[in-house]
């Protein structure tokens, strides 16, 4: 039932504008892959090209080794869950779920059986005779998923399906989708701009920016070893702290003022370093004069489980540092910052990450 998807050297243009250029990607069967990126990065376009809703100008798309790019959407054996669910408003839930199968001339008993099974799994059996207008947002979402499930497709395509839900529902549905994948073990491609969804759901994340793939890898690899400055800044909340590099001596990187950190960069590459990034969990708040740099607390965000101190350095730059939840610090306090250089990332002028020596 499930399929591997192969995208080879695919390009697409809208008139003179090249939207996707020579993009290649391989998705093995059973994998849950997330296309992650900001609006306009091309992730939805890529998904729609796989679905057949957008044409490709060059390249091939293969499912299980067979070319599907000449085929219309209905003949590719895929199912899609839309951001706005796209349920047929005038049909009941049951009819919505049956529609795709009817178009494939599936026998009625098979249709009924699959609908019953899917409805049971998604807990929507009591809604089968209602119309979408009578359902809540979360219920509609599950019907949209159910419509996809009954088709037993080669792969599931999700186009930002959680964006229309409120925060609580979003978290719950995220878990349901994860469970769905566990259960069906089907190939799933999930498009989102929310890095939390990507981190929690994906077996692999494809990070895209400006219509190019920036990095592909498992979530923790994306988080711990970002390949580009963009990936480093896009993934992780709060955003990574960035500093301009002023100079390097061996693995010691000099930043603004007197700040200088000992990093894991190879001395050979150190000369190319243009920017340094360090996450807030690698920055501690210390007493004044007791850390690598001093500053003033500008903003203190209390999140409940921790606090985030926005510390302004003499040069004007603000650094976000982790603090314990019960911190006694206050806005305006003069504090010091301690940096764990071993956790710093370095990027060249083009934004590409410099290789780091493994941690001792």
């Amino acid at each position: 039932m499930t399929a591997e998807i192969d995208i080879r050297n695919v390009s697409k243009s809208y008139g003179p504008l090249k939207v996707i250029e020579n993009l290649s990607l391989s998705i093995p069967a059973h994998e849950f892959v997330v296309f992650l990126g900001p609006s306009g990065c091309g992730k939805s376009t890529l998904l729609r090209m796989i679905a057949g809703l957008e044409g490709i100008d060059d390249g091939e798309i293969l499912i299980n080794g067979e070319r599907v790019d000449p085929l219309p959407p209905g003949k590719r054996g895929l199912a899609m869950v839309f951001q706005s669910y796209a349920l047929y408003p005038h049909m009941t839930v049951r009819q919505n779920m049956a529609f795709g199968l009817e178009n494939l001339a599936t026998p009625a008993p098979v249709i009924a059986e699959r609908i019953a099974a899917a409805a049971r799994m998604l807990e929507i059996d009591h809604l089968l005779d209602r119309k979408p207008g009578q359902l809540s947002g979360g219920q509609r979402q599950r019907v949209a998923i159910g419509r996809a499930v009954v088709k037993e497709p080669k792969a599931f395509l999700f186009d930002e399906p959680l964006s229309n839900l409120d925060a609580a529902l979003r978290a719950r549905t995220r878990i349901e989708i994860a469970q769905l994948h566990q259960r069906l073990r089907a190939t799933m491609i999930f498009v989102t701009h929310d890095q939390i969804e990507a981190m929690t759901l994906a077996e692999r994340i494809v990070v895209m920016n400006n219509r190019r793939i920036e990095q592909i890898g498992p979530p923790m690899e994306i988080y711990d070893q970002p390949a580009t400055r963009f990936v480093a800044s896009f993934v992780g909340t709060p955003q990574m702290n960035f500093f301009d590099v002023r100079g390097a001596t061996g693995s010691q990187i000099r930043l603004d003022g007197t700040l200088s950190l000992s990093t894991r960069v190879d001395p050979i590459d150190a000369g190319r370093a243009a920017a340094l990034g360090i996450r807030c969990e690698a920055v501690r708040v210390t007493g004044e004069g007791q850390g690598d740099a001093d500053g003033v607390i500008d903003v203190l965000e209390r999140l409940g489980d921790r606090a985030l101190a926005h510390v302004r350095l003499p040069g004007g730059q603000t650094v976000i540092a982790n603090e314990i939840a019960q911190t006694k610090q206050r806005v305006g306090d003069r504090v010091g910052l301690g940096f764990d250089g071993a956790k710093a990332h370095l990027f060249d002028a083009a934004g590409v990450a410099l290789p780091l020596r493994s941690a001792p």
């Binding site: 591997e4 192969d6 069967a29 057949g52 809703l53 957008e54 044409g55 490709i56 100008d57 060059d58 390249g59 091939e60 293969l62 299980n64 080794g65 067979e66 070319r67 790019d69 000449p70 219309p72 959407p73």
Partner: protein
Amino acid sequence: MTARSAPSIKRRRTASANAPDWRNALFVAPYLFFFVTLLVFPLFWGIWLSFHKADIFTNGPFIGLGNYLRLFNDAVFLQSVGNTFYFVLLTVPTLALLGLFLALSLNSNSRLATILRGLFFSSSVLSVTIVTLIWRFVFIPQYGLLSAIYKLFGSEVPSFLTDPNLAMIAIAITTIWWCIGLPMMLFLAALQQIPADIYEAAALDNASRWRTLISITLPSIRRTFVLVVIIQIVMQFQLFGQAWLMTRGGPNNTTRAIVLHIYDLAFRRWDVGMGAAASEVLFVLILAAATIQFLTSRSAGDRS
């Protein structure tokens, strides 16, 4: 898992689901068939006919602008053009202003307003034959409604439909009674589009009712006013039924409208070429009037 080799299909641009496709045109083809055969074709044939001395059976010889020249030398035709302009001048401003007045007055949720709105629109669903039938019996001397009213005041009703000075006015009144519903409804729709907060702001700014009307309400519906006027100009230029049924274009051709003249030429005297020519003249007049109205209102709007 071994990957099967892809079949050797030459690389080509793959059509997306939304690509242009001749077969999609099949959906618009049925309508287009009728559109072309019953509108486009007759339009051009009509123009072609107007350049010929044609009757109902034959197309006759080509006479260039002959029909048009005869038309413009025909006093009756010129009179019908004048009559039509007179009629438009009588009806369009009245319909627009009266419609606006009614919309402003009846723009409320009260039971009475709702009923009255329904009343004023109801005449518009009647056909011209019923409307003219009713109004003939308003105007007719002796047992007409007006006759009865005049008698109450002890005088005699003038014979509207046979008096050259009053006949067109009678037709205008009939038309206003018939057509008032549409302008009123259009203005009502426009009034309801005005957001309530503007009025609330005006109230806080201490604007009087009159001031609110002049400075806020009317400017907000200016576009609709232009639209109503244009629609009514186009509609009333096409006057036919009322003039034909109530007065047959008389007395002394004072109510002869352009369309009446076309009807007479093409379908009574069977001078098809002339009839076609007259209809093209009407077309041009309508287009010109509507365009002028549109342009003048546009430039006035830009200045304001």
